[in-house]
């Protein structure tokens, strides 16, 4: 959908941090536990002490404690799973599990994961303690210079080709110009930078090993992991520099000759203030929560409200804004922007758009509709004030404003300017009203926006992020400037991808050859784009079943929805699909959440990227790369060439 930010997943918030951390401990801890198990088997096989890696008694004790803790936690978890397993095998319902068992089942993976992480992390931290930034910096500079000497920068000449000739082939709708250009330069930069970065990072350490230059480096007092960190930092610095230059050039390309319609829609950096959406029907003057309707679209991102069809109650889409910045009250008007989808069930009149009515009410309005209407009519009849002034005055007094029968269009950003006096009313402390609402057990919603469709037989589709208040001041005239700044913020998303690819490639290249590292890093990164699909596949939610079932259906020419006959071949296919699902579930945890880092859509649609988003991007990046760094540390240590001097 154009002109609206389509967010199929809610952006991350600080409230999500604890849950994120717990998931991370469980996931990374699971892999750490697997690593510990492998290490234990290895130690048993070569008859080596488990704590041979350190001479410190304290470290030994902590390590053994972590090992035992992890083993006990996972063993207990296994024991607790047995009844569930037996029940699934016997296919009997059985008694529901007791609450303490459920709580334990939820807590044990985290506890076990934490112990495993401690066990794996301890030697790693011990190794990190010995790292020296001076040596790392020297290695990073070396990597930087090597890359430049290899003339990799020539690859970026391809970017010039795009800047010079892309305009010949891209003939966009005028209002789509900015978003098309931004998409194009983002895609081009991503392909070029990521390919070069993956190439450099994958081949660096294997080339050092093959040409034996690594021996020269490691005979000096250099820790093996310093090579990994140095390479990672060197290439990241180089790619960051290129990214900054390329982004600057791309911005110039995007900004030249912008169509006014495109500038109006996308050449901005809106700071949206989102509300919580719910659907409701009005019965007896009260709003009763309800479902939005489905019009049968394949993509169920939006729900729809119909136009009035008495005697059915009127349906509303309602946005509740729970926090309003006080700076909004200092303006003349506050802009409310929206983009809805229109679904017509009849043709309607030619050249006549569908209309919606927007009702804005603060928590202090409390249904004084008749009083408001009477006063509004009186003031209009007096004729002393303009309609605008009357509305502003009444909005401050009552906390209510109505934009009636506003024509709407889909695939365009439209707006209603509401008087800022409404916000002032919402921000006014009113202890009596507050107490009244609290005693009635009603929530205090500073601002509520209700939208209803005014055309019979037509439907209007809405999603949470389709309507928002502009927290920035749209009248400053500095849209281009903010857009430019936002463009660079958008480049941070690409920078995260670069770090991800470089980190993956360097980590993999500590053990694999250059080509294999390149392919593996590329595969993991690209597979990250299809995480949703792989997840569906792993959970058995794809239409047509898993790979073997799909193949069987293809061979037999069976429809996707027809149940398969119960034959030996079917049972084998379904069984092997179950096994492949288990593998896929494990594989899912290795994949990076690539889409989370993508910020170019924000830039293309003209939405500001918040600092919080950038923070979470960095946090996710670190969370993903840290286990890989630990893996790289152990792999580097395990190689013959990499003994500390």
């Amino acid at each position: 959908m154009f002109a609206a930010l389509t967010l199929e997943r809610d952006p991350l918030k600080f409230e999500d941090l604890p849950a994120m951390f717990l998931f991370w401990v469980q996931d990374a801890g699971g892999f750490a536990a697997a690593g510990l198990a492998v290490y234990m088997l290895y130690a048993l096989a070569v008859r080596r002490r488990l704590t041979a890696w350190t001479d410190s008694g304290l470290y030994r004790s902590i390590f053994l404690f972590a090992l035992l803790g992890a083993a006990a936690s996972y063993a207990l978890l296994g024991v607790l799973q047995v009844p569930d397993l037996l029940r699934s095998l016997s296919s009997s319902a059985g008694a529901p599990p007791s609450p303490w068992r459920v709580a334990l089942q939820q807590a044990l993976p985290t506890v076990g994961g934490a112990f495993a992480l401690l066990g794996v992390g301890l030697p790693f931290l011990d190794g990190v303690r010995r790292l020296r930034w001076r040596r790392i910096w020297a290695l990073a500079r070396l990597s930087f210079k090597e890359a430049i000497r290899r003339r990799v920068l020539w690859a970026f000449a391809a970017l010039l080709v795009v800047f010079l000739f892309a305009g010949w082939f891209i003939d966009t709708k005028p209002e789509h110009q900015v978003r098309t250009y931004v998409s194009l330069v983002s895609l081009t930069m991503a392909i070029l930078l990521l390919t070069v970065a993956a190439f450099l990072a994958s081949f660096s350490i294997p080339t050092d090993i093959r040409s034996q230059t690594i021996h020269t480096v490691l005979t000096k007092p250099v820790e093996p992991f310093e090579v990994v960190v140095g390479r990672f930092l060197g290439y990241t610095m180089l790619m960051t520099l290129i990214l900054v230059v390329a982004s600057g050039l791309s911005l110039l390309y995007v900004l030249r000759g912008i169509d006014p319609d495109a500038a109006e829609e996308s050449l901005k950096a809106r700071v949206p203030l989102y509300g919580e959406l719910f659907f409701a029907r009005e019965e007896g003057g009260r709003l009763i929560r309800d479902q939005g309707e489905s019009v049968g679209r394949e993509w169920e991102y939006r729900s729809y409200i119909p136009g009035p069809s008495p005697p059915s109650p009127t349906k509303y889409a309602v946005w509740d804004f729970f926090s309003l910045p006080s700076r909004l009250a200092d303006r003349d008007t506050v802009r409310c922007e929206y983009t809805f989808d229109i679904f017509r069930t009849t043709k309607g009149r030619d050249d006549t758009p569908v209309a919606c009515t927007f009702l804005f009410e603060t928590w202090r309005f409390r249904g004084r509709q008749a009083e408001y209407n009477n006063e509004r009519n009186r003031l209009r009849q007096e004729g002393k004030l303009s309609i605008r002034d009357i509305d502003a005055q009444l909005a401050e007094k009552y906390g209510y404003y109505e934009a009636a029968s506003v024509p709407i269009a889909d695939y365009h950003t439209l707006h209603v300017d509401i008087p800022a006096s409404l916000i002032r009313n919402a921000l006014e402390p009113d202890p009596a009203a507050r107490q009244e609402l609290e005693s009635a057990g009603q929530p205090i919603v500073p601002l509520r926006v209700r939208v209803r469709c005014e055309d019979r037989t037509q439907y209007v589709g809405m999603a949470k992020y389709d309507l928002y208040l502009r927290a920035d001041d749209h009248t400053t005239g500095a849209d281009k400037l903010w857009f430019s700044w936002n463009f660079f913020k958008g480049a941070v998303g690409l920078w995260c991808w670069l770090c991800l690819v470089i980190g993956l490639a360097v980590a993999l290249s500590t053990y694999l050859s250059g080509v294999i590292s390149f392919l593996c890093a590329g595969f993991l990164f690209l597979a990250g784009f299809f995480q949703d699909f792989i997840q569906k596949l792993a959970m058995g939610m794809t239409v047509g079943g898993g790979p073997m079932e799909s193949m069987l259906r293809l061979l037999r020419g069976t429809n996707l929805v027809v149940p398969l006959e119960d034959t030996a071949a079917t049972r084998v296919a379904l069984g092997s699909d179950n096994v492949s699902r288990l593998v896929l579930r494990c594989f899912l945890y290795v994949l990076p959440d690539v889409d989370r880092f993508a910020l170019s859509d924000y830039v293309a649609e003209g939405f500001s990227i918040s600092v919080v988003q950038l923070f979470f991007n960095l946090l996710l990046l670190i969370g993903y790369l840290l286990p890989w760094a630990v893996l790289a540390y152990y792999l580097m240590r395990s190689r013959e060439i990499a003994g500390p001097t």
């Binding site: 154009f2 003939d171 709708k173 098309t180 989808d341 758009p353 269009a409």
Partner: protein, 655 residues
């Protein structure tokens, strides 16, 4: 002197050089006169198959063996983008898909259809809809240029243009936007129609500029006024303003905004038209070399479609000179193809498009060279657009009805003759005679296929009779399949000035009826050149009169007329009917009525007294309720029933 080894080395090198030269020269000559000539004959070279697209070729080469994989990924992404309504991405992906498989026509057809039909209807604004319709057509145009001599692509160009612009739900808006695409952007610049009133300091209408625009583009302005409720000039200007950025035939205006901007390259402009050819199927069909100024006032999607349909015919094999509905064998496989559709139906579209043009003109009120009196409907001076130019007519450049129905009729005649659906009378009699003899000798009935499917299989003495029989069988089959007689006779009668005049009267009457000027409307119907003329036409053209659609239309005309009679003369009629019925009843009670048409039904005194409203309902007999002089009913009962059912279905609920 070099030693023997060196000499041998030099000799060897010389031999190699000579060999290389000989082989190179031979290969060059062979390539030039052998391979290349053969490749050209078979249209194997890129430039023979299509306009060369260097970027596409470069991309395809760079993909080497992974083109199939890239296609699958792009197609999948395109589906995803479409599902999520990300149209700009979809467009880019679609173009990439077609670039990778330029000589496989299915992606062109599928994706252009997708844009013109599926994507366009997702937008609610007509302007946006129009944009995606044009994008689909432009994509198809690119496909057509990449795949020369492909009748299906050319046909689809015409079909999309006609179907999406002129036949959809929102045809009035879309046809208006189509007209705007053809007009010089400077000419329709809304700023031209506004000027500053120095007295009041407000922006007012520039009446002279607006009048000039109305004179040059009367069909567009009339549609906006009559169909899109632009009741004031300002609303027309607003419409032009809202839709200023339509895809167009011209380049963007220059900054000085004084000269007409040049036309875009044929590949970039909209509407897309076929290239000029040496020996075109229809010399009157539009090409991209035609002067837009000559037809800008009446161009529509049908006319452009006609150009493409005519162009599509040039890639077909010639029609069979003997057997109706069949084609001659393909003689040049690089330039001739059989279309996916039944060939005979495919061949009828140039004529069909011309019929559509004529129908559209008459539906919008363009009948003769009297044109359109802009303020004819407005009674008060304040409602008139040009109060100082009362009675001024615009758009009377041609006798629209006669001209375009005439062209359509010629096209149908040519179609009939070329495809042997229209046989000369003498030949037909001769064929019927021979066929009769054959049938009686072989014991087959009129539409039976015989046991022989090919002429060579038929014994020599029976061959002539068999051929005559088969020609008539095929003639009958294809005449029904194409509904040829309807199109042929309709266009023939519609092209007559009297028919055009009658239609004009009906149109005027309908306009008056819609304005509730019923008495004037009734007068129009009863004018000598309206209903009486129509009746005369039906009497004198039996093939036209017998056509179901003509009869349905006649029934509708009659119903509208009778409604007006009831509304205008109802009270008087009731009285007269009551008196006359009473008299008739008494007379009939005394002696039975003579046979023949009656204008008044037999009503009993009881009915007259108890159901006075029924008197009027039963009492009116329309001018087409009886029979023609030949004895056929003007409107057959079954046709009447169909028309009645349809009228009931179209009536708004509660009426």
């Amino acid at each position: 002197m070099a030693n023997p080894l060196q000499q041998k080395s030099v000799q060897r090198k010389l031999v190699y050089i000579v060999l290389i030269l000989v082989l190179f020269t031979t290969a060059s000559v062979f390539r030039r006169y052998g391979v290349e000539a053969y490749a050209q004959e078979l249209s194997l070279r890129e430039q023979d198959r299509a306009d060369v697209d260097l970027t596409g070729s470069a991309i395809r080469l760079s993909l080497t063996g992974s083109r199939g994989f890239a296609m699958c990924v792009l197609w999948y992404w395109a589906n995803q983008a479409q599902m999520k309504n990300q149209w700009n991405e979809l467009e880019l992906l679609v173009r990439s898909v077609t670039k990778l498989q330029p000589h496989f026509i299915t992606p062109w057809l599928f994706q252009s259809w997708n844009l013109s039909y599926n994507v366009s209807v997702e937008s609610d604004r007509e302007h946006d809809q129009y944009f995606y319709i044009t994008r689909g057509i432009e994509l198809l145009y690119e496909g057509e240029r990449q795949n020369k001599n492909h009748p299906d692509l050319r046909f689809a160009m015409g079909h999309y243009t006609m179907n999406k612009v002129c036949q959809g739900d929102k045809k009035n808006v879309l046809m208006s936007l189509f007209n705007m695409s053809c007009i010089d952007p400077l000419e329709r610049d809304p700023e031209r129609f506004r000027k500053l009133d120095e007295r009041t300091g407000r922006t007012v209408l520039n009446e002279q500029a607006f009048f000039d625009f109305c004179s040059k583009h009367p069909q567009l302005v009339r549609r906006l006024r009559d169909k899109l409720r632009c009741s004031r000039p300002e609303k027309v200007v607003d419409f032009l303003e809202r839709n200023k950025k339509v895809p167009t035939y011209y380049e963007d205006p220059r900054p000085d905004r004084e000269q007409t901007p040049p036309k875009k390259d044929p590949g970039q402009r909209f509407p897309c038209l076929p290239p000029p050819r040496d020996n075109p199927f229809d010399p009157d069909a539009l090409t991209h070399a035609s002067r837009m100024a000559d037809y800008v006032d009446y161009i529509d999607g049908y006319l452009v479609a006609h150009a493409w349909f005519a162009y599509a015919q040039e890639a077909l094999p010639r029609p069979d000179p003997v057997m109706p509905g069949r084609s001659q064998p393909i003689t040049d496989r690089t330039r001739q193809r059989i279309p996916k559709m039944t060939t005979l139906i495919f061949r009828m579209f140039p004529a069909r498009a011309l019929s559509y043009v004529a129908e559209r003109l008459e539906q919008e009120g363009w009948f003769d060279d009297r044109g359109w009196t802009i303020d004819e409907r407005e009674a008060s001076r304040s409602q008139k657009w040009f109060p100082d130019r009362d009675g001024v007519e615009v758009g009377g450049r041609l006798k629209w009805g006669v001209e375009f129905w005439g062209r359509a009729h010629k096209a149908w005649q040519r179609y009939g003759e070329d495809n042997r659906l229209l046989l000369p009378e003498t030949e037909r009699f001769d064929l019927e005679r021979k066929a009769r003899e054959f049938r009686s000798s072989q014991g087959v009935t009129e539409n039976d296929r015989t046991r022989w499917s090919r002429e060579e299989e038929v014994p020599e003495p029976l061959r002539e009779g068999w051929l005559a029989h088969m020609i008539l069988v095929e003639l009958n089959y294809y005449t029904h399949l194409t509904n040829f007689r309807h199109f042929y006779f309709t266009s023939m009668v519609e092209a007559k000035p009297e028919t055009v005049q009658a239609r004009k009267r009906f149109f005027e009457a309908e306009q008056l009826r819609l304005q509730a000027r019923r008495a004037e409307a009734l007068e129009k119907y009863e004018a000598p050149d309206a209903l009486p003329m129509w009746k005369e036409l039906l009497e004198t053209h039996p093939d036209f009169q017998k056509d179901d659609m003509v009869q349905e239309e006649t029934y509708e005309i009659q119903q509208k007329y009778l409604d007006l009679v009831r509304a205008v003369r109802g009270p008087d009629l009731k009285r007269d009917l009551t008196v006359q019925s009473g008299v008739t009843w008494m007379a009939q009670a005394a002696a039975p009525p003579a046979a023949g048409p009656r204008w008044l039904p037999m009503l009993t005194p009881a009915t007259l007294l108890t159901q006075p409203a029924a008197v009027l309902e039963l009492g009116l007999v329309g001018p087409f309720d009886g029979n023609t002089k030949r004895g056929d009913p003007f409107i057959r009962p079954e046709v009447r029933e169909v028309a009645r059912t349809r009228a009931a279905a179209n009536r708004p609920p509660g009426r």
